[in-house]
């Protein structure tokens, strides 16, 4: 890559991301006849949506009575009332239609004897406004995400969507009016830099779980969409909220499903004590994800962790009949053998609470349009899926609601683009003269940097800092210190040096560019978390405990509001939560208890 040049290609719309959200949006665009480019770092069906096994929720009522209003109630409650009730109503009402549509696209859902879509129970799904569990999750065996991606991809092939595979978007193009005019991207195979000039741009880049040292997310989840948006002056919403899963394999992150505890698995500390009996005398090891995660961290922090560094606890199923393990949990046995090096029939599995899902992201309304802090929309810019914050998950996501989010908001963002492009002018708005300068300067810096920091070491330092200072359980002093540490790491990120300067398949360059995005996500998370002086959903602070005045440490008087992090000046502002649904009454504030 000796001299940096840039060519321009023109489209009606460009979508960055070919996971569930991007592919769902692309169908709307291509079927409406828009000239659409879909960019992806990997082949579409290798997107991280594949990893979703549990299912997608919809109140189809195929096994027993169910209603979208009950689904809506569960989602608002799950969000600890930080979710926007207009978007939540929209999503839950659209869910049955979205799932049936997917069925028509060829998704091989499991079926009941009568041939209807089979539905299974899932944590947090209740009937009649929280009364008793209801079967709402639709699945295709344990490969729901995989099957969904394949169905959506095939539909896109039919609609002639144009894919740019193994292309990495680097920056948004935004003009002086704030309008978004496309993206600048890198073709990995050639090192070529191309501007995708378009009337509309949709981000569907997925999550950023790799900001944590211990993460269930694949390496691809580096938050590129969030980094690009932040650099283009878009504020990021509710970044302090990350869902942790209690049982990731220590050191590897690989997820061990809740099913293991369902089958009788027990968590133990270094004294071999079943410590959950102290934290949740009734539910014990089956208490909700956040309760179990916090108990585990408390045990570790108080010195009762296991292993040489006392930094994990044990998930014990050695008391179960080996035949049961082989029959009911074969996948878990394989994972433990492969990733923990132990056979769970003979020895307990080392586990730690592990980062799993990002609730915050690029602020949008339920039409998938990106919104400014003042509520106006950013012309030409849309987002959907895990990178977006609609906000339906609020402070805590309900399992199976994210696959639903991809379908519903993938489609609505696509519909919004089709409408805007058809109503708008035929010609593309002209690119500003200096549109590529910023990106080319970033690339140039990377090509010429001398005596800088190593990408791997800097990333590791970032991940360790997030894990230690901004994990499951948060402490005031640690957060304050965390903010200054992350700002130091940011300096190193801006000075990373790569050895390989070649053009073709330069993965060192790509990883350095990914790190540029991780740092924006990490910084927004740490700063937003330090500032929010309450506990709510997944954000739990030691100095905001459960009291009579503020049950669970939640403080609605001061903190019932969305955080907005602004990269410029590293500042925060806040905006109100939309408590008014579209057609029904507000689901009134209550203490979140299960």
């Amino acid at each position: 890559m000796s001299k940096l040049t840039i060519s321009v290609r023109k489209f009606d719309a460009v979508i960055v991301g070919a996971g569930g959200a991007g592919l769902r949006a692309a169908i709307q665009l291509s079927e409406a006849g828009l000239k659409t480019a879909v960019l992806s770092k990997v082949f579409p069906t290798r997107s991280h949506t594949v990893a979703a096994q549990g299912g997608v929720s919809a109140s189809l009522g195929n096994s027993e009575e169910d209603h979208w209003h009950w689904h809506m109630y569960d989602t608002v409650k799950g969000s600890d009332w930080l979710g926007d009730q207009d978007a939540i109503e929209f999503m839950c009402r659209k869910a049955p239609e979205a799932v049936v549509e997917l069925e028509h696209f060829g998704m091989p859902f499991d079926r009941t004897d009568e041939g209807k879509i089979y539905q299974r129970p899932f944590g947090g799904h209740m009937s009649n406004f929280g009364e008793k569990p209801v079967r709402r999750a639709c699945a295709a065996a344990d490969r729901t995400g995989h099957a969904m991606l394949h169905a959506l991809y095939q539909r896109n092939v039919r609609a002639n969507t144009q894919f740019f595979v193994e292309w990495m978007a680097l920056d948004l193009i935004r003009d002086a009016d704030g309008q978004v005019l496309g993206v600048i991207a890198l073709e990995m195979e050639t090192g070529e830099i191309v501007a995708f000039h378009a009337k509309a741009t949709i981000f569907a880049t997925g999550g950023a779980g790799r900001i944590y040292y211990s993460s269930t997310n694949a390496f691809i989840n580096t938050g590129d969409g969030l980094g690009m948006a932040a650099r283009a002056g878009i504020a990021l919403e509710d970044m302090e909220f990350w869902q942790f899963h209690p049982t990731g394999v220590a050191g590897a992150g690989v997820l061990i499903t809740e099913g293991v505890r369902g089958e009788g698995g027990i968590l133990r500390n270094s004294d071999n004590e079943r410590f959950m009996e102290r934290y949740a005398p009734n539910a014990k090891d089956l208490a909700s994800r956040d309760v179990v995660s916090r108990a585990m961290v408390t045990e570790i922090n108080e010195g009762r962790g296991c292993g040489p560094a006392k930094d994990f606890v044990l998930l014990d199923i050695t008391h179960l009949d080996p035949a049961t393990i082989m029959k009911r949990l074969p996948g878990i046995r394989e994972i433990s053998i492969q990733f923990a090096g132990i056979d769970p029939i003979k020895a307990p599995i080392p586990v730690v609470p592990t980062c799993h899902y990002q609730m915050g992201g690029i602020p949008t309304n339920f039409h998938g349009q990106v919104v400014n802090p003042d509520g106006s929309t950013v012309t030409g810019f849309y987002a959907a899926g895990e990178c977006a914050c609609a906000s339906v998950h609020g402070a805590n996501r309900l399992g199976t609601n994210s696959l639903l989010d991809l379908l519903v908001f993938g489609k609505s963002s696509g519909d919004s683009v089709v409408e805007a492009v058809k109503a708008g002018p035929n010609a593309l708005k002209e690119l500003p003269a200096d549109f590529a300068d910023y990106t080319l300067a970033r690339l140039n810096r990377l090509n010429t940097q001398k005596g800088g920091a190593s990408v791997n070491e800097t990333r590791l330092e970032l991940q360790r800092t997030m894990q230690k200072h901004c994990g499951v359980f948060r402490f005031k002093d640690m957060l304050v210190e965390g903010v200054s540490k992350i700002c130091d790491i940011e300096k190193a990120v801006h000075l990373t040096e790569i050895g390989d300067k070649s053009a073709t398949w330069n993965t060192a360059r790509v990883e350095a560019l990914e790190l540029d995005n991780l740092i924006e996500v990490a910084k927004s998370t740490m700063v937003s978390a330090e500032a929010r002086k309450e506990s709510r959903g997944a954000h739990v602070r030691d100095d905001a405990p459960d009291t009579a005045a503020n049950p669970n440490g939640r403080d609605d008087e001061l903190w019932l509001k969305h955080t907005l992090w602004h990269r410029e000046g590293n500042k925060l502002s806040y905006k109100p939560v939309q408590l008014k649904p579209l057609s029904v009454e507000t689901i009134a504030l209550k203490t979140r208890a299960y």
Binding site: T45, R46, A51, R143, A218, I220, G251, A252, A340, N506
Partner: protein, 84 residues
Amino acid sequence: MISSAELNRLRWRCTRRAMLEMDLLLGGFLERQFHDLTPAQAVAFIQLADMEDLELWPLITGKRECENSLQAEVVNMLRDVRVK
């Protein structure tokens, strides 16, 4: 011999998988063991890396039979990748 560009492409395809499990296994293998493979084994590994994760995982766990003895040889080595 595999060129450095080809190796880089292989590296991308081994470490940007759909599932974390596969990033760890294929990425770990590439880093530590790939250079010890015979040319024939290297070809077999590249074919495995081209598979989708949900096709590859059953081979590793033994739920599905390998297509030939060469593939089985490489899959056996993959099973021995210790992540930690």
